[in-house]
């Protein structure tokens, strides 16, 4: 972060302790100053941290050498215009009493704090709706606490009725009990999901309708909560790579890369040039894949099945290339800390170029059906529009934020892997409606292809893995041939790569937006904590605001257009 910003903050928060970790500034503040600090960070024009990225907590129960309060909460903030990344951290003296909620500052805090409450049992005072979010309502205990046993399985006998929350939401929107019952305006409750073709996975959307118009909406997630974070605490760093495949499974490689990048930046590993270019090529290729699936599904919801074939066939064809490279179709697990699992195969350039040509054709065929199509226009334009400011307040990032006219993209604003060397544009929308969200995705695919073609020209030769015995596995020849290599192989597999003690946050522009990882390491081969900042969690958190006042059929399209992927949403 720039020195001026740090100066301003140091004068504004004399009680805070400042540290710099990677490109993040961390301010440690006393518990009673937490809310005040956050409020000033949000509201001071020269600080302007308009984006709340994530809220999480750390349980220091088993952390070596830790004294004092067991829990701490961490708020991760960003000023996207000036590329300032900040974490505000505060100890929590008593989890039952908790800390003051930040929901009044950023609505994004609503779901984020619910998750902390659910996973760590930390209370947030003045939070409007502090319920469990990922785990079911009959669940006992808080899974991410260190004294919670990972095998403490708990059966859920029936789903939550959600009657309370929807009534409350109706009241907030000015519909009182008598209107609900009045015969002329009788409100109908309609439940979509969690098993419904339009929910694209397992999400539950409960709406209160007047005719077809949505008066109030509440959503329940967590149906695909698979305990990623708890499981990751029991794996070595490289063993987590396959778990990251299954976060956003439409673009598994992006998660692989984001994850290893986060670990590498902390360890100060500079991967080889070739590996960097490989990661760029593959990131952009997978970004295209992700957008293809999203748009295909979105257009099916609109009734345009032909588009599904046009777009999905290209995805299917891409699997040929992907499986030739990685050995798997969907779950690639292709990165390792320190480089790539292996190099491109011989002749990949031709395959890639053919793929790109086919994809271009598929997209153009689809666009020919969509661009001038009046039905598409009328169903998507000015529908579920979300202004830029609101989108930021809800923590939107990625294509959905850009569709609302905010040109924030980490590849431009905080470039990594030589992104500054490529010539590409960031498409932005104007209205933030469904149409813009779709079109931004279409345009982004063309931009990604541009990047891939440039990177293919620039990619240098050389190794794809760093030469460091503490990180890279020795070759099989050596393992079978000499005892040192055998011992080092054994240690790297069993104990894992030793990651220095500390806490850090690192982010990556994934297909859906900013994918961040917040790690706490105790110096061993397994992370003490590994928290994902999933882009679509925050989009879903703003869903009710997008659809209230719209028709129920539009809500379906809207859900498709924000591209919710269960694995990433619920982890």
């Amino acid at each position: 972060m720039d020195a001026t910003a740090i100066e301003i903050m140091k004068t504004a928060f004399p009680y805070g302790q400042f540290t710099e970790v990677l490109d993040t500034v961390v301010i440690d503040v006393p518990e009673d100053k937490l809310h005040g600090t956050l409020a000033r960070l949000r509201n001071y024009p020269d600080l302007d941290f308009s984006l709340l990225l994530d809220v999480t907590a750390v349980d220091y129960l088993h952390y070596p050498g830790h004294t004092g309060d067991r829990f701490a909460v961490v708020y991760t903030l960003r000023n996207w215009k000036k590329n300032r990344l900040l974490q505000v951290k505060s100890r929590v003296a008593d989890p039952v009493k908790g800390v003051v909620s930040a929901t009044d500052l950023w609505p994004a805090a609503n779901w984020a704090e619910r998750e902390v409450f659910d996973q760590y049992g930390i209370n947030f005072k003045r939070h409007p709706d502090l319920r469990r979010i990922l785990n079911h309502w009959q669940f006992q205990g808080h899974p991410l606490r260190k004294d919670f046993d990972i095998e403490n399985r708990q059966i859920c006998l029936e789903s939550d009725s959600l009657e309370g929350p929807i009534k409350e939401r109706l009241a907030q929107n000015g519909v009182d009990e008598s209107t609900i019952k009045d015969i002329n305006t009788e409100v109908m409750f309609l439940n979509l999901g969690p098993s419904h073709p339009a929910t694209h996975g397992a999400i539950r959307i409960l709406t209160a309708l007047d005719g077809e118009t949505i008066l109030a909406n509440v959503n329940e997630i967590g149906y695909l909560h698979r305990g990623f974070e708890k499981t990751a605490e029991q794996r070595t760093y490289n063993q987590i790579v396959p778990l990251t495949d299954r976060l956003n499974y439409c673009s598994s490689m992006l998660n692989n890369i984001a994850y290893v990048k986060a670990v590498e930046s902390w360890m100060g590993i500079e991967i080889t040039e070739r590996a960097q270019f490989m990661r760029v090529v593959l990131s952009e290729f997978y970004r295209i894949q992700d957008h293809l699936v999203c748009l295909a599904a979105n257009l099916v919801d609109m009734g345009g099945l032909t588009n599904y074939w046009y777009l999905y066939n290209e995805k299917e064809a891409s699997y040929d290339f992907i499986s030739r490279l990685t050995g798997a179709r969907l779950t690639s697990s292709f990165t390792r800390i320190g480089g790539m699992y292996r190099d491109f195969y011989e002749g990949w350039e031709v395959d890639m170029e053919n793929q790109l040509k086919d994809i271009e054709k598929g997209i153009s065929d689809c666009l020919a059906l969509v661009l001038q199509n009046r039905i598409v226009h009328e169903r998507t334009q000015n529908c579920c529009a979300f202004p830029g400011e609101t989108a930021l307040a809800y923590g939107f990032t990625g294509p959905c934020l850009r569709a609302s006219g905010v040109p924030f993209d980490l590849r431009k604003d905080a470039p990594y892997y030589n992104y500054e060397a490529f010539d590409f544009n960031i498409p932005v929308g104007t209205n933030g409606d469904i149409y813009d969200r779709m079109m931004v995705r279409f345009e982004e695919m063309f931009e990604s292809m541009k990047i891939i073609r440039q990177a293919m020209k620039m990619i240098p030769g050389g190794p794809v893995f760093i030469d460091n015995k503490r990180i890279a596995l020795p070759s099989k020849n050596e393992v079978y041939g000499n005892i040192e290599a055998l011992a080092s192989h054994f240690k790297l597999i069993f104990d894992g790569i030793q990651v220095p003690k500390g806490e850090w946050y690192d982010s990556f522009e994934a297909a859906n937006g900013e994918l961040g990882f917040h790690f706490v390491s105790d110096g061993s081969g397994q992370p003490y904590k590994c928290k994902v900042r999933p882009p679509c969690f925050y989009k879903m958190g703003g869903f009710h605001e997008m659809v209230e006042g719209e028709m129920v059929a539009d809500a379906i399209l809207n859900l498709g257009s924000i591209n919710i992927i269960g694995g990433e949403l619920d982890r």
């Binding site: 990922l134 785990n135 079911h136 899974p143 919670f148 046993d149 990972i150 095998e151 403490n152 399985r153 708990q154 059966i155 859920c156 006998l157 029936e158 789903s159 969690p194 098993s195 419904h196 073709p197 996975g201 397992a202 967590g222 149906y223 695909l224 909560h225 698979r226 305990g227 708890k230 499981t231 396959p242 778990l243 495949d245 299954r246 499974y249 439409c250 699936v293 599904y308 074939w309 999905y312 066939n313 299917e316 699997y319 179709r329 969907l330 779950t331 269960g566 694995g567």
Partner: protein, 170 residues
């Protein structure tokens, strides 16, 4: 899987002939309900798309109402939060019905051996075919479909399947 006839006819040549005709019909017009929750559902999408084309087995009429379907394809991880819903969907399907567990998660919990994941859907509902893989290739889905077709061939109107299955939520 009663049609109501067997009470009158019992086990005789008419019912066995009827079995053959009915089973033949059922085999080649399975209507699947896709209970897709996670990554495996994306591979089902591939199985349904042009290249693998599930319609070659007569099972392309994907239904999203359990009342219209007779093949429940569970594609993806089932969490404890999801379990009561899966059971409800299964119960809403009319007999005769078959269940396929697609992928490691649905079959056994897969890589998720933890507090929130059901260790195989057969803890909740009876399963007829399991598909290994994480995720299975689309061809494996087609293979499971053929297994179900084979199984149907040998079934009889007189025998009720899974009458005394007791799951975790029963």
């Amino acid at each position: 899987m009663a049609l109501g006839l067997e009470a009158k006819l019992g086990d005789n040549v008419l019912t066995t002939k009827l079995d053959a005709v009915v089973n033949w019909g059922r085999q080649y017009s399975l209507w699947p309900f896709i209970f897709g929750t996670a990554c495996c559902a994306i591979e089902f999408m591939s199985a349904a798309a042009s290249q693998h084309d599930i319609s070659r087995w007569g099972a392309e009429v994907v239904r999203f109402s359990p009342r219209q379907a007779d093949l429940l394809l569970v594609c993806g991880t089932i969490s404890y939060k999801q379990a009561p819903i899966l059971k409800r969907i299964y119960e809403q399907m009319a007999e005769p019905k078959w269940v396929v567990a697609m992928g490691a998660c649905a079959s056994s919990g897969g890589i998720y051996d933890n507090y929130c994941t059901v260790q195989g859907i057969d803890k909740i509902i009876p399963v007829d075919a399991y598909i290994s893989g994480c995720p299975p290739r689309p061809e494996a889905v087609l293979d499971a479909l053929m297994k179900i077709q084979d199984q149907i061939k040998g079934e009889s109107l007189l025998v009720d399947r899974h009458k005394d299955f007791k799951g975790m939520l029963d």
